[in-house]
């Protein structure tokens, strides 16, 4: 019987009531008394030297209150990179300053070099246009293509960085010789060059920020679209503006999607704060959609050569990759971690590969900054591995199911130490593969292929067995690897006097459904109704210092902190109950929301204990503080390792090249599942994004660094009719061994595992249709590219 409440129940998402009825409370919805509007003046060239900005005309325009340029911020700090990477030769990465407003040079189309604040939005727009007209920017040759960027030292994104290289990273450098030796003696080598296409995050809600300054107290408040308000506060305080942390509140109210792009601190946030201080009035800004395209941190953008050494019967002996990773014009906060420790460490996949070596050169270009986007590094690794395994099978005439099965780590080999630095704690990759084969009716494929053929379509099937590392992350480990932050999380459980509960979490929900799932867990643990638990997040003045949500970490890390805090509540409740029931604390048992004396019918309800904690008339005040509120911090002992197997079937129209997803089946192991409906929703969304990357989404810059796909007229987002009805299963469970809930995280899985399944299916369809010359098609596998490949 499925449960209808608590852990494991598909409780309906309580937040959807307000989201779906238009009662959400997003940053742009908040009206402020005396508010003013900021509009940014953005570069329309990819690379240029700022010669002059004449503010005289704009500053006299109606309603204009203030104008800011890079000059105003040249003495404040820069927006830092959160992760230090060392190059193979031991030298630290190059870290150019990322100013609030561009100063001296503009480095990508959309780079803001000035801002206008005015009484109304239209007045600010008018003045910004005037300011743009009155700015002289000398256009410099744009650096767009990564290969040219590293080859031509004369043209530099940052004048102080000669070869446009941020770092040249080897993982693991000491293993390189052994890997090369394995290739020398290998019976078969498969080689593949591929592009992991750049993606624009496209959160439904564009970025938006409101700065407020309170002259009476000297306090600041930033209301902003953030996935992690404490991190933003830390960055603004300690690095950029120097506002003391205790004088700055950061609030992220309802946030309409982030997918990574709202992890980072952006210059617009610092600008509205600084401007509010200058004007003594609230200053607000909301991105127009074009600004989102041009300035949200993009995702992916790798060019990779991967080689795989194997035996003739498909046993993988070694993997070697060389990647150019585009970091864009500036280092966004986690841009250096994404192509390295979230990518190279996954390059063994779910396989027993003895030798792996990864080289990543991260390159500056005159394009928007690139950072973590749903999956972040792990989709890039998975795509490379799963594509080359498929290519190897094709070259050797082997069955892709059998080759994967042969190479998968066996269930009895856990914990398993990979050659790229991770210890997978638990898993059963055979189980998910078996489940997939059954659910996807692989046996019936030939029949379906024949039916497709009768319609003039080519049917193909593509497999991907994927693994990822999430539940980010053990602080001491990431510290050794270069992280400049800790990656614990925190929760406070406050039992109110009347027995209902407020839970303050460091994790931030921007669509995931924390308000529902976290309440389910607390309710189950305390034996009370879900409706008695309220989840509070997103306001640094209310919540404990947590690190926010990304890297599929909320449940595995913050959920663990919350569970620990609940345990502390129960422990204290037992002490109170022991006093009230005149029993020994050791004899008190807590079950079904009641504290009782073991073996008797003497009991106090949870509500009675709560009341007593706040009205402590009959209470052990000599030994116990009143109140019932506990905070816990939790730092994970390891990453978590969700894994699974995906199968995509496509139909290709050989005359037009159009690919239709005929079916998509997922068999995942996410550990224990707290709310199946929400987990399935996360997989649907993730796979939808993966299908978007595989078939539709193309972020194209021309050679002058102009973004050709800066609107939905040219940037193709997946729509409902681009994706199939998914078959999703999460019944194979190997619980995580090191967090109290046994959970692994499911937010990114779909986006990680799905792109190679789609592309493998297209290649399979073409081969079955006789187009065996097609070895690879770069994503997005658009109709024209497929047609070109067939006819090329």
């Amino acid at each position: 019987m499925p449960k209808d409440t608590g852990i494991g129940a598909s409780s309906k998402r309580r937040e959807d009531v307000r989201f779906l009825s238009g009662r959400g409370n997003y940053t742009d919805d908040l009206a402020m008394h005396g508010q003013t509007y900021a509009v940014f003046v953005r570069s329309n060239v990819a690379h240029g030297r700022i010669k002059s900005i004449d503010t005289s005309a704009a500053s006299k325009m109606p309603g204009v209150l203030a104008i800011f340029t890079g000059e105003d911020f040249k003495d404040v700090g820069g927006n830092p990179a959160g992760w230090l990477i060392n190059s193979r030769d031991g030298t630290p990465m190059r870290e150019p300053k990322r100013p609030v407003l561009a100063h001296g040079k503009v480095r990508h189309v959309g780079d803001a070099y000035a801002a206008v604040v005015a009484e109304t939005y239209n007045q600010a727009k008018d003045a910004a246009q005037q300011l743009a007209d009155d700015s002289e920017i000398e256009e410099l040759p744009a650096i767009v293509d990564m290969r040219k960027a590293v080859a031509d030292p004369s043209n530099r994104v940052h004048d102080e960085i000669p070869d446009n290289l941020c770092f040249d990273w080897g993982w693991i450098e000491d293993n390189r010789a052994a890997v090369d030796a394995a290739f020398k003696s290998a019976p078969h080598i498969t080689t593949l060059e591929l592009v992991n296409n750049r993606l624009v995050p496209n959160a439904m809600e564009p970025r938006s920020s409101i700065g407020e300054y309170f002259p009476g107290t000297g306090d600041y408040k930033l209301t902003t679209t953030s996935q992690n308000p404490h991190l933003t506060r830390l960055l603004v305080s300690a690095f950029v503006l120097g506002i003391p942390e205790n004088k700055l509140t950061v609030v992220a109210p309802d946030v309409g999607g982030g997918f990574g792009s709202k992890i980072y601190h952006y210059g617009e946030e610092a600008l509205v704060l600084a401007a509010s201080r200058k004007l003594g009035r609230p200053v607000r800004w909301t991105a127009e959609r074009t600004e989102s395209f041009l300035t949200d941190a993009h995702g992916r953008d790798h060019v990779t050569k991967i080689e795989m050494a194997s035996t003739k019967d498909g046993e993988i002996l070694a993997i070697r990759t060389e990647t150019l990773a585009n970091v864009g014009a500036y280092l966004s906060n986690f841009s250096t971690a994404t192509p390295t420790f979230l990518h190279g460490t996954l390059m063994a996949g779910p396989y027993k590969v003895p030798h792996v070596y990864v080289n990543v050169k991260t390159v500056f270009t005159n394009t928007a900054p690139v950072d973590a986007y749903r999956g972040a590094g792990r989709p890039e690794a998975t795509f490379s591995i799963e594509r080359i395994v498929d290519k190897m099978c094709r070259e050797l005439g082997l069955d892709p199911f059998e080759v994967r099965r042969k190479n998968l780590i066996q269930p009895d080999q856990f914990p398993y130490t990979t050659p790229v630095g991770l210890v997978y704690d638990t898993g059963n990759y055979q189980a998910t593969l078996d489940k997939l084969i059954e659910l996807a009716d692989v046996a019936g494929f030939e029949g379906r292929a024949a039916a497709s053929k009768a319609k003039g379509k080519l049917r193909g099937m593509g497999l991907s067995t994927w693994i990822e590392a999430c539940g980010i992350a053990p602080s001491n480990l990431v510290g050794v690897l270069g992280s400049r932050v800790g990656l614990y999380d925190a929760a406070t459980v406050r039992v109110n006097a009347t027995g209902n509960i407020s839970v303050m979490t460091g994790a931030h929900s921007h669509g995931q459904g924390h308000e529902t799932v976290f309440a389910q867990i607390v309710a189950e643990k305390l034996g009370i109704a879900e409706s008695s638990v309220e989840i509070v997040h997103g306001d640094t003045s209310k919540i404990p210092f947590g690190m926010g949500s990304y890297g599929s970490r909320s449940l595995a890390v913050c959920g663990a902190a919350m569970t620990k805090a609940v345990d502390k509540i129960i422990a204290k409740g037992k002490k109170i109950a022991a006093h009230m029931l005149e029993a020994s604390e050791n004899d008190i048992v807590f079950a079904d929301g009641k504290f009782s004396v073991a073996g008797t019918d003497k009991a106090k309800s949870f509500g009675e204990i709560a009341f007593s904690a706040y009205v402590p008339h009959n209470y052990p005040l000599e030994t116990l503080e009143p109140g019932l509120e506990e905070t816990a911090f939790y730092d994970p002992a390891n990453f978590t390792y969700p894994a699974g197997a995906y199968l995509c079937e496509v139909e290709v129209d050989p005359e037009t090249g159009k690919v239709d997803i005929a079916s998509f089946t997922c068999a995942d192991d996410f550990g224990h599942v707290m709310n199946p409906m929400i987990v399935e929703g996360q997989v649907h969304g993730g796979v939808g994004q993966g299908i978007g990357q595989a078939l539709l989404e193309n972020t194209a810059y021309d050679e002058n660094g102009q973004l050709l796909t800066a609107s939905y007229m040219d940037y193709a987002m997946p729509r409902a009719d681009d994706v199939p009805f998914y078959t999703v299963d999460h019944s194979c469970v190997t619980p995580c061994t090191h967090n109290p809930l046994g959970v692994k995280g499911c937010g990114e899985a779909g986006a990680i595992g799905s792109p190679p399944a789609v592309v493998n299916a297209v290649i399979d369809a073409l081969h079955r249709g006789g187009h065996t010359h097609v070895k690879h098609i770069d994503m997005p596998v658009s109709p024209s590219r497929v047609w070109q490949a067939i006819n090329g």
Partner: protein, 262 residues
Amino acid sequence: MHNFDFVKPSSIADAVKALSKEGAQALSGGQTLTPTMKQRLAAPTVLVSLTGIDEMKGVCLGEDGLSIGAATPHAVVAKEAAKHYPALAMLAGGIGDPAVRNRGTIGGSLANNDPAACYPAGVLGSGATVVTNRRKIAADDYFQGMFTTALEEGEIITGVTFPIPEKAAYVKFNQPASRFALTAVFVAKFKDGVRVAVTGASNDGVFRWSEAEKALSGHFAASAVEGLSVSSDGMIGDLHGTPAYRANLVKVLTKRAVAAAQ
């Protein structure tokens, strides 16, 4: 968006008068004009709405064929033309999304003449007549290249009259992002011959594929087009498809349209 005045006349005469003012511009469904104004690429001082003029709205079967008021939204055409001219109704029902179809109009689409729009193919493929406040313009004379038409200053489309063919079909291949036509073909078989109009493909906007018309007028079957080849000269090349790809689509979609014609 810049400030503007807004008027909503109830007769063609009043609309024409309002449009004679300096800086005035016609507003029909606003699906093209409003986004352009929001991007500050257009800044009319007066918007003259055409949607309050009864004589410019509705679908009506008459002796010359099916007449559609210029201010009739796509959704109404999709519904009301279905009985009389299913291919045209299908074309209208495949434009954009429900919100676009509820506001966007046939007159606005034809005045705009986007090279990837659907109606131009339906109008040219049907050999329809564009009716304005001044004259009647044959489809063959009306379309004059991308975003260019025979309309003169101050002239507005009031309606379009479609002769009804024996069989017709519109087959559209979506541009993946905008879902305008990457290429689309309208085929119409009349007693005295076949017309084939192609949109989305050419740098010159909508055009008739005369070789196919000739072949199909002899023998109305997909096989009649098989031996023909389409040159990629003058075809649009962009992110979504090369000229050669579009040339291929012209032929593939023509065959499909012939097969689908009813």
